[in-house]
C-alpha cells in the first residue's frame, strides 16, 4: 500500500499538493484528514469527492505530518488502499447514545468483514468516549482493535467536528472500518504523567461528570493545588480554569491496571464541577498529577519502538494522536517526540492534537486516555 502525506494552510494549498502527489501516477482512495476548525471543511471534502477519494476526517487542536507542527492548517494522509478493504461510517449521538451508535457501526462492519478493525474520531466535549469503545466491544469482543481520538477545535473547547465526504457532525463519531485480514493495524498509547499527593475520594460524580472530591468542588481543589488562591467564576476566567484543569489532571486509581488520566475538559462554573473525557465512578480514588520530566518524550518514542519491534516491524503509514495537554506541557519541544516516532518507521505520517486518545496502553484494556501519545501503524498484507 502506498501512502503520502500532504499539508497546507488552505483548500487551495491542499488541491495543489494533491495534484503534485498524484503526478507520479499515485492514485489514493482514502484520505485521513486532520484540519483546523477554521478551515473550510466542505471545500476540502468536495475536492476529495471530486477526485473519488473517501474522507475520514476530524477537526483538531493542531496537526502535523512532520516535525513542523501546524496551527490552523490542514494535514492529510493519502492511502491507495483497495476500496473493498475499508468502509467509512458516520453516526450522530444527539441523546448520548454513544454505545448504541458504535454498536450499530460494528454490526454493519461485521457484515462486511470477518475481522474488522477501527480507526475512529468522536466530536463533542461531553462525550463519554469509553461508551463508544464499549459499543465496539459489545459486538466484536474485547480483543477488538480500535484506535482513535476525540476531535479538537484549536483549543477553544467549544465545538468540534467529525466528517466524511458528504456529512459532518458536531455530536457524533466517524469510523474507518478496516478489513483486518487485509490491513494490519497496531497502536499503542503512552502517557507518563506523574501522580502527586495522596489519594483522594470522588465523593460525587455521575458518569464522566465529577462534582466533588473529598467533598470539595473539584474546580476549587484543583485551583488550590495550581498555586492560585482563587479563581473568579465568570467567562473571563474560562481559559485559566481550563488551563488549570488540563495541566493538573485527575488520575483515576484502579484496583486492576495502571491508573488512567481523567482531566477536566469542560469546567462548570456554577457548581465547580468538571466534565471529564471518561467515566470517574463515585467513590473511586483519584490523585492529582503533574507533567512528567521532559525525558518522558524519550519513553514515548521507546514505547513506539517496542510496538515496532514486537508487533509491527514494517508499516506503510503512520497515524499519530497526541493529547493537546501534551502540547501545553511540552511546548516548543513537542516536535521532538513527533519526529522521534516518525523516524522509527520513516513512512508517511499524519497526526493531530486531540481531546482524548482511544487505544490500549501497555498490557492495558481498550480505553479512553488523556495526555497520551498514541501512534497507530498501518500495513497492507501482501
Amino acid at each position: 500500500m502506498l501512502a503520502k502525506s500532504i499539508k497546507g494552510t488552505s483548500p487551495e494549498d491542499i488541491n495543489s499538493a494533491l495534484r503534485d502527489a498524484m503526478a507520479d501516477g499515485f492514485r489514493p482512495t482514502l484520505a485521513i484528514v486532520f484540519l483546523s476548525v477554521k478551515q473550510d471543511r466542505a471545500a476540502v471534502c468536495k475536492m476529495f469527492k471530486d477526485s473519488g477519494i473517501a474522507v475520514f476526517g476530524c477537526t483538531t487542536h493542531g496537526e502535523f505530518i512532520d516535525e513542523e507542527l501546524g496551527k490552523e492548517s490542514i494535514t492529510i494522509l493519502l492511502l491507495d488502499m483497495k476500496e473493498e478493504f475499508f468502509w467509512i461510517y458516520l453516526r450522530d449521538f444527539p441523546t448520548g447514545n454513544y454505545r448504541a451508535a458504535t454498536s450499530e457501526i460494528a454490526q454493519l462492519a461485521r457484515e462486511e468483514f470477518a475481522r474488522p478493525a477501527f480507526l475512529i474520531s468522536g466530536a463533542h466535549m461531553s462525550t463519554d468516549a469509553e461508551e463508544l469503545l464499549k459499543g465496539f466491544e459489545d459486538v466484536i469482543g474485547t480483543e477488538v482493535n480500535v484506535y482513535g481520538s476525540m476531535a479538537g477545535d484549536d483549543m477553544s473547547f467549544t465545538e468540534q467536528f467529525v466528517f466524511t465526504n458528504d456529512r459532518e457532525s458536531n455530536r457524533g463519531v466517524v469510523v474507518l472500518a478496516l478489513d483486518e485480514d487485509k490491513i494490519k493495524i497496531r497502536g499503542r498509547a503512552t502517557c507518563g504523567w506523574k501522580a502527586v499527593g495522596t489519594p483522594k475520594t470522588v465523593t460525587r460524580s455521575e458518569g464522566n461528570h465529577v462534582f466533588t472530591v473529598d467533598d470539595v468542588p473539584v474546580l476549587d481543589l484543583t485551583v488550590k493545588y495550581s498555586g492560585f488562591d482563587s479563581i473568579s467564576r465568570d467567562a473571563a476566567a474560562k481559559d485559566t480554569a481550563l488551563l488549570i484543569a488540563t495541566t493538573l489532571p485527575l488520575q483515576l486509581q484502579r484496583e486492576k491496571g495502571d491508573p488512567i488520566m481523567r482531566p477536566g475538559l469542560i469546567v462548570n462554573f456554577d457548581d465547580g464541577s468538571f466534565i471529564c473525557s471518561g467515566t470517574v465512578p463515585q467513590g473511586s480514588k483519584v490523585r492529582f498529577s503533574v507533567p512528567p520530566d521532559f525525558d518522558v518524550m524519550d519513553t514515548v518514542i521507546q514505547q513506539a519502538g517496542d510496538l515496532k519491534e514486537k508487533e509491527m516491524p514494517e508499516a506503510d503509514a503512520l497515524v499519530v494522536f497526541s493529547c493537546a495537554g501534551r502540547l501545553l506541557a511540552f511546548g516548543p519541544m513537542m516536535n521532538m517526540e513527533i519526529e522521534g516516532i516518525r523516524k522509527l518507521w520513516n513512512v508517511p505520517m499524519a497526526g493531530m492534537f486531540s481531546n482524548g486518545e482511544l487505544a490500549r496502553a501497555t498490557n492495558g484494556n481498550l480505553e479512553m486516555h488523556n495526555l497520551t501519545t498514541c501512534c497507530v501503524a498501518l500495513k497492507a498484507y501482501k
Binding site: 495541566t247 492529582f288 507533567p291 519541544m333
Partner: protein, 350 residues
C-alpha cells in the same frame, strides 16, 4: 523571535563586510539560538508551575502522613493495651484452669491425706494407751516392761512423724500445683511425679463418680534419669491426660452398660520410657477414641466434647503449650474410634 536576537540579526544583515554565505550561517545560528531560548524559557516557566503545585501537595501529603502516623501510634497503643489485657486475661484463665483442676483433685487429695491422718490418729491413740500401760508398769516397778513400752512408743512416734511428713508433702504438692508457675526447671523424678498424679487423679474420679471402675496399668521405666522440668506444669499435663483417659473409659462403660451382652473392661495405662535422648510419658485408654472430624481441633483453646460445665476446653490446649513451648517437647495423639486413644508426651533431657 527574542527582541535582542532580532536586533542582532538586523545588524548582521546590514553589515556590508559580511558575505552572503556568512550572513546565512549567522542567521541560522540566531534562529537556532532563538529556538533554544524558547525551550529554556518554556522549561523554566513550567518548572516554576510544577514546583509550586508539588510544594502545595507535598505539604498536604506531609500533613496527612503525620495524621496517619498519629492514628497508627494510637492504634499501636490501643493494641498494646489490648495485648496486655489479653495477657492478664490469659494468666487469669490459666490460674482458673489450675484452680478448676485443683477442685477436681480435692477428693483425691482428701483421700491421700486421710491415709496418713488415719495412721497419725491410730498411732497417737495407741501411744496414749501405751503411756497408760507404762504408768501401771512404773507403779508396779516393772521397769523391764516400761523400757519395752518406751521402745514401742519411740517406734510409734517415728511412724506418726513419717505419716505427718507424708501429709505435709501432699499439702505442699497441692499448694505447688495451685501456685503460678515459677518457670524454673528442676531435676525431677518423672516416675514419682507420674505415680503421685495417678493417685490423685484416680481418687479424684472415684470421689466424683462413685461407680467408676477401671483397671490401671503402670509401667515405669526404671532407667529414667531425673529430668529438668517444671514439675507443677508437667504434673498438670499428666493430670489432664489421666482425667481425660478416665473420662473416656467411664463414658464408654456407661454406653456399653446400656447394650445387652456387651463385654467391656475399662483400662487406663500410664507408662514412661527412656529412649536415650527423650523421655516419654504415655497415657492410654481403651475408651471410644476421638472422631476424625474433631481430631484437629482438640488442642484448640476452648474446644471440649464434655457437656457444658464439665470441661473448660483449656486442658489440652494448655498441656500442649506447656509441653511444646515450655519444655521444647511434643504432645501427640494416636486414636482409633472404638479402640481408644494414646497421648504421648515427649520431653528432651535438657
Amino acid at each position: 523571535m527574542n527582541p535582542h536576537l532580532s536586533r542582532i540579526a538586523e545588524l548582521i544583515n546590514q553589515h556590508d563586510q559580511l558575505s552572503a554565505d556568512e550572513k546565512v550561517a549567522l542567521n541560522k545560528l540566531i534562529t537556532d539560538a532563538d529556538k533554544q531560548w524558547a525551550i529554556v524559557d518554556f522549561k523554566l516557566d513550567r518548572t516554576e508551575k510544577v514546583k509550586k503545585t508539588t510544594a502545595i501537595l507535598l505539604e498536604e501529603t506531609i500533613e496527612e502522613l503525620e495524621k496517619k502516623r498519629q492514628a497508627v501510634e494510637e492504634s499501636k497503643n490501643a493494641l498494646q493495651q489490648s495485648l496486655e489485657d489479653l495477657k492478664a486475661a490469659q494468666a487469669q484463665l490459666i490460674q482458673s484452669e489450675k484452680m478448676a483442676s485443683l477442685g477436681e483433685l480435692t477428693a483425691g487429695i482428701a483421700h491421700e491425706i486421710q491415709n496418713p491422718l488415719n495412721f497419725v490418729n491410730n498411732f497417737s491413740e495407741l501411744g496414749r494407751e501405751l503411756i497408760d500401760d507404762m504408768k501401771v508398769a512404773m507403779a508396779e516397778g516393772d521397769y523391764q516392761t516400761v523400757a519395752e513400752i518406751a521402745n514401742d512408743l519411740s517406734g510409734n512416734l517415728e511412724k506418726i512423724n513419717h505419716h505427718g511428713r507424708r501429709a505435709d508433702s501432699i499439702v505442699k504438692g497441692m499448694l505447688q500445683h495451685s501456685r503460678t508457675s515459677s518457670g524454673q526447671k528442676e531435676l525431677t523424678d518423672i516416675n514419682t511425679l507420674c505415680d503421685e498424679y495417678l493417685r490423685l487423679a484416680y481418687h479424684g474420679i472415684r470421689a466424683k463418680e462413685k461407680d467408676f471402675n477401671a483397671k490401671i496399668v503402670t509401667e515405669f521405666d526404671p532407667s529414667l534419669p531425673k529430668v529438668a522440668i517444671i514439675p507443677q506444669d508437667i504434673g498438670r499435663v499428666i493430670l489432664n491426660l489421666l482425667n481425660n483417659a478416665f473420662y473416656a473409659v467411664h463414658e464408654r462403660t456407661k454406653t456399653t452398660a446400656k447394650e445387652s451382652g456387651a463385654d467391656y473392661q475399662p483400662l487406663v495405662g500410664l507408662r514412661t520410657r527412656n529412649t536415650g535422648n527423650w523421655v516419654y510419658i504415655i497415657v492410654e485408654d481403651n475408651g471410644n477414641g476421638i472422631p476424625g472430624i474433631i481430631r484437629d481441633k482438640i488442642f484448640q483453646p476452648f474446644f471440649t466434647t464434655k457437656p457444658t460445665g464439665q470441661g473448660t476446653g483449656l486442658g489440652l490446649s494448655l498441656s500442649y503449650d506447656i509441653v511444646t513451648k515450655g519444655h521444647g517437647g511434643e504432645l501427640t495423639l494416636e486414636t482409633s474410634e472404638g479402640t481408644g486413644t494414646t497421648f504421648s508426651v515427649k520431653l528432651p533431657f535438657q
